[in-house]
């Protein structure tokens, strides 16, 4: 090989490596900048009152207790609904009908739903659960969030189940077990970590969604555990308070945003740890 070509290859290699280092540094700088803003603005607003008092009017003392409680309730209910439907649908795609035409259609439409703008999902749930019943409700908000979480769970369930070694299935079948038993008792159990990761990813996705809740759960100034009526939630509170003219409201908004980001980070770390455990075992 000529010396010139060698030099060119080396230079190209160096350029490539430099590019990778630089863009990674850029990405980390962007992250640091955003986190810095979030921490600088939000940390000062975090205190015990944030967790014990409800959202105040401007100038009054208060916190985010009702929004936190409402968000937790709606996310948990949404996750219960989404995991039920998502795991079953993913199982169907992986084990039963995935290779048929119908299965291909379901899989494609699942991806479409995954990319659906959340505001359109909110409008849809408004049409079916708010307008006919003449009232906003936390329950409608949960349904909207569930619709956003289901495609994530379906996709990860199908991917994870298909990764399970076929020897597992064959062993179960050879022992005479019906397919449903094989799935439930063997496959689900061995794919446990992956399923959990999928659920946690879906939770991370829905925890920060504002637009769908705006038309379904609305929001509530006061503390209420009643999901049949407008329910307070963090994303809408942040949305309202962040753009207001009052300093105490803006502080609470940033504190709320910090809480959401911290929760998602915690969830992501837990998901990673669980995935590592599974890989090891």
């Amino acid at each position: 090989m000529s010396a010139g070509k060698l030099v060119r290859r080396r230079v190209g290699d160096l350029a490539f490596k430099a590019f990778c280092w630089v863009v990674t540094a850029l990405a980390l700088v962007a992250l640091a900048a955003i986190l810095w803003s979030l921490l600088a603005q939000g940390f000062g607003g975090l205190n015990l009152e944030v967790f014990t008092k409800s959202t105040p009017a401007p100038g009054s003392p208060g916190g985010l207790a009702n929004a936190i409680a409402g968000s937790i309730m709606m996310c948990v209910l949404a996750m219960v609904m989404a995991v039920t439907i998502g795991v079953l649908a993913g199982t169907w795609l992986a084990e039963y009908g995935g290779r048929s035409k119908y299965g291909a259609v379901v899989r494609f439409l699942n991806d479409v739903l995954l990319s659906a703008p959340s505001i359109l999902v909110g409008l849809f749930v408004y049409e079916i659960l708010v307008f006919p019943f003449h009232g906003f409700s936390g329950f409608a908000g949960s349904v909207a969030l569930a619709l956003l979480a289901v495609p994530v769970i379906t996709r990860t369930t199908e991917d994870v189940l298909l990764l399970q070694a076929s020897t597992l299935r064959e062993a179960g079948v050879a022992l005479g077990a019906p397919l449903s038993y094989v799935i439930r008792l063997i496959l689900w159990r061995s794919a446990r970590a992956g399923l959990l990761t999928g659920a946690l990813l879906a939770f991370a996705r829905i925890s920060g969604e504002t637009a769908p809740l705006l038309f379904t759960a609305l929001n509530n100034q006061f503390f209420s555990l009643d999901l049949r009526h407008p329910t307070a939630n963090l994303p809408v509170v942040i949305f309202n308070f962040a753009l207001s003219a009052y300093d105490d409201w803006r502080k609470l908004a940033w504190a709320g945003a910090l809480l959401i980001a911290a929760t998602v980070l915690a969830v992501t770390i837990v998901a990673r740890i669980v995935a590592q455990e599974q890989k090891r075992s």
């Binding site: 290859r9 080396r10 290699d13 490596k17 990778c20 280092w21 990674t24 990405a27 980390l28 962007a30 992250l31 900048a33 955003i34 986190l35 803003s37 439907i85 079953l88 649908a89 199982t91 169907w92 039963y96 009908g97 379901v106 494609f108 439409l109 699942n110 991806d111 995954l114 990319s115 659906a116 703008p117 505001i119 359109l120 999902v121 409008l123 849809f124 079916i128 619709l147 289901v150 379906t154 076929s166 079948v173 005479g176 019906p178 397919l179 449903s180 038993y181 799935i183 920060g208 504002t210 637009a211 994303p235 942040i238 949305f239 962040a242 945003a257 959401i260 980001a261 998602v264 980070l265």
Partner: protein, 327 residues
């Protein structure tokens, strides 16, 4: 997997199964039925969403016909609406965001798999994924209050000063130098879709068998050559899929974009000019819209966005099928 001892897979249960006990058979069928019902619920919800968009947007579609897609007039006072401005804005910002995010995501993924020192791998990987967890409204606010002034000062003003009158650079950079516009919005969008694409690309790169990479290194290839000629082609199909899903996210993002895109419904004439996207237009105007035609026009916009997403994903599927990858 199709075994005579099992119920036949697929919605049309075919050959009768010889099972151990009738009770087990019932449980099996109920379970399969439940799974099928869940999959169908997915289908029905999407159908419901599209249906409600069609019904809601029909008054506008009927009134403006196909011209709705091509007219750039958006006038709530005279109740004349045309989707061309938001459509162009959506496609342009998504394309620009992808053009920025893809190389960066690729660089990050390659960095994490080939170049990164082992102890730093997990922290940096988690850090990049953390970007995905930040609520999108924070991106919007950060974009407006922090990024925009910096962008104006260090990028917009120098570029505008350097552009000679009549040059291409000048056409691309005319606009108000305050950090708002198509390009800043696309950059914020790129930062948002970056973590997802980087994580997926990294997962894909990890599926390349070490033997393949090592044999390339063994032949004396440089890192760049291994990546370009061996690893990348190996994961091309999955990478395209990941890119398409990132694009889907970019098309539908609302909060991050609406704060700094400048929100004018006419065609953007330069990178620094204001534009609007479908999602930001709906978010901005839906709650205030009083006239039925205005509301219907916004819902029709939503339908258009859905169709765009549909088409993009359809193209991705077709490309994957050609590659022979698992659908």
């Amino acid at each position: 997997m199709s075994d005579a001892a099992l119920p036949a897979p697929g919605p049309k249960a075919g050959a009768p199964a010889r099972r151990s006990a009738p009770r087990g058979a019932l449980v099996g069928q109920v379970f399969e039925g439940l799974c099928f019902a869940a999959a169908t619920t997915l289908l029905l919800s999407l159908g419901g969403i599209i249906g409600s968009l069609l019904i809601g947007g029909w008054p506008a579609l009927k009134r403006f016909g196909f011209g709705f897609l091509f007219s750039a007039t958006w006038n709530p006072v005279t109740d004349v609406y045309g989707a061309a401005g938001p459509i162009v804005g959506t496609l342009v910002t998504a394309a620009l965001a992808l053009a920025i995010a893809l190389p960066v995501a690729g660089g990050v993924a390659f960095f994490l798999t080939e170049l990164c020192p082992a102890p730093l791998r997990r922290p940096i990987g988690t850090a990049v994924e953390l970007l995905a967890g930040i609520p999108s409204i924070v991106y919007g606010m950060w974009g407006l209050f922090v990024f925009a002034p910096l962008f104006a000062k260090y990028i917009q003003l120098p570029l505008m000063a350097a552009a000679k009158p009549g040059s291409l650079l000048e056409t691309l950079t005319t606009g108000i130098p305050n950090g708002s516009g198509i390009l800043p919005a696309s950059i914020i969008l790129a930062i948002m879709i970056l973590p997802f694409m980087a994580a997926t690309l990294r997962e894909l790169l990890l599926t390349v068998p070490p033997a393949v990479r090592e044999s390339a290194y063994g032949l004396g290839a440089t890192t760049a050559e291994v990546v370009m000629s061996v690893t990348l082609p190996y994961v091309r199909a999955g990478a395209i899929g990941a890119v398409m899903l990132g694009l889907g996210r970019a098309l539908g993002e609302t909060m991050a974009v609406t704060f700094i895109i400048g929100n004018s419904h006419s065609f953007p004439k330069s990178l620094f000019d204001s534009g609007s996207t479908i999602a930001s237009t709906i978010a901005n105007e839906f709650t205030e819209a009083t006239s039925p035609v205005h509301t219907a026009a916004l819902i029709a916009l939503g339908l258009v966005l859905f169709l765009i997403t549909f088409t993009v994903l359809g193209i991705a599927r077709l490309m994957l099928r050609r590659q022979g990858a698992r659908l």
